[in-house]
Symmetry: C2
Subunit: 249 residues, 2 copies
């Protein structure tokens, strides 16, 4: 049995709390938030507090709060095993005097959207093997994909995630804009979008590449550029160049 | 019952042939390819030929050949109902004297990969309502998502597809490169990638956007830029700018 205290009331704190409350091998000893109103809904299932000096004793303290508050808030948690849930903050940003670790679920969360932790990778880090194993046991109570990722690797993963999530989503936005401009239903593209993302589970994205840039089909590229507005054109040109540079490597 | 002759031996010809051979309401009268060796495997199921002057009579002639060969090859098919399967060639590029149309399955095909036409959008075009309805009936024998898309719209759809397929895939490639450089398993990112593509069936990509560019989190953006090589940096900066310009609209 592992006992935890969860600090925060945002997207990640909410879903972790729900998940741990639903599992047998974890006790959620307490929830903490600056404003106790935010965690009121859990008042009948666990202890809640807004006083950080009155935290219950637990094996792990999970800081699921804004990146820029992690250092400050952790400094109030002396002599405890404190982990944060951030992809972009190093383990040593934690300012507690005790043990430190990271418990980072790599997925995008929002309160309104259900979460299945079983498909979400947990990126774990700790100072000692024993603490790593504790985090691993904790992650395994709700998830199945566990990775040991140190702070340097995690920061790189975070940049990579910007490309495969935010930037990919922006390509969808441009595709959607083009469809809207010419009165084509964007939904026509959804199966292609699904196929594109599904494909790379089987083959590397580099091998999966097709299209005018890869073929260096200059005629099609020129035709395409004529159809785009200035900012779309700039993106089209640069990504085409980047695909072609990649091919040369 | 609709009878068809399929011309070509590439990815699209292969999968269309297989699908039509498997359906009850279509007869594949004949297959044509420049080199008959390429369609040998169908010799026991239908008639095959490499002589374009000896084509059988059929309701529809489906030209599933390279874009740049469509005009020339169609000029040999006088007095017939000829359709091509291309996303980027106009209907009027067809040079037959008879009826013209387009039968464009919007998905990426390769011979080695199984295809489920039921999930693939068919973008159809014809000169008359009667011909459109014939193509619609034909598409419905193997598929369920049918869209009426004219040549102008189709050309826009094709550019949009470059963004949501080729450019998205390039973002995956950069993500993969970053992971390789820092010895992080790329598979950690696969659930996020799936989630990102699945999300936009429910909400518009513009509303789905998150991340440092959208938040204008300049500190994180600077940290990220420091971790990238020159060409990755150029892409990061431009897409970040493009996301932020989009926000202002
Ligand atoms: N959302 C995601 O997709 C995601 C995914 C993986 C990891 N993460 C990481 O998980 C952590 C939390 O993210 P989130 O999305 O859950 O954030 P969020 O929804 O914005 O919630 C942030 C939480 O931090 C609290 N907080 C902020 N400053 C505080 C302070 N000085 N003292 C105490 N509490 C403070 C907020 O409390 P108030 O309500 O009182 O302001 C709120 O409960 C971050 O490190 C984030 O990088 C997020
Ligand atoms: N692949 C896709 O993902 C996809 C998706 C949607 C639509 N399309 C469109 O479907 C069409 C076919 O694409 P594909 O991927 O199937 O192409 P492919 O695999 O490259 O095959 C091209 C076919 O065209 C034939 N061909 C080329 N020039 C010819 C000529 N002068 N005379 C007769 N045959 C000729 C080739 O014959 P040889 O083998 O003798 O060279 C080959 O059978 C194109 O218009 C393409 O834009 C493709």
């Amino acid at each position: 049995m592992i006992s935890v205290v969860i600090l925060g009331s945002g997207n990640v704190a909410y879903h972790l709390t729900k998940a741990f409350l639903n599992t047998e091998n974890v006790i959620v000893k307490q929830l903490y938030a600056r404003s106790v109103a935010q965690i009121q809904e859990f008042q009948h299932t666990t202890s809640i507090t807004d006083d950080i000096s009155l935290l219950a004793t637990a094996d792990v303290y999970i800081l699921a709060i804004s990146d820029n508050a992690i250092s400050e808030v952790s400094s109030h948690l002396q002599n405890k095993f404190v982990v944060h849930t951030s992809g972009s903050v190093t383990m040593n940003s934690l300012q507690n005097s005790g043990r430190k670790g990271v418990f980072y679920p790599l997925q995008s969360f929002s309160k309104s959207k259900q979460v299945n932790f079983n498909t979400i990778p947990f990126c774990l880090e700790a100072e000692t093997t024993k603490d790593y194993q504790l985090l691993e046991r904790l992650a395994k109570t709700i998830g199945s994909k566990i990775f040991s990722i140190n702070s340097l690797q995690r920061s790189k993963l975070h940049v990579a995630a910007v490309f495969v999530n935010n930037f990919v989503n922006h390509m969808y936005t441009i595709g959607n804009d083009i469809c809207d401009t010419y009165d084509v239903p964007f939904e026509v593209l959804l199966p292609l979008i699904e196929e594109t993302s599904a494909k790379i589970s089987a083959i590397s994205p580099k091998d999966a590449q097709t299209g005018p840039a890869k073929r260096n089909d200059t005629e099609t590229i020129s035709k395409h550029l004529e159809m785009l507005n200035e900012s779309q054109k700039e993106v089209y040109k640069l990504i085409t160049k980047s695909i072609q540079n990649g091919e040369k490597l």
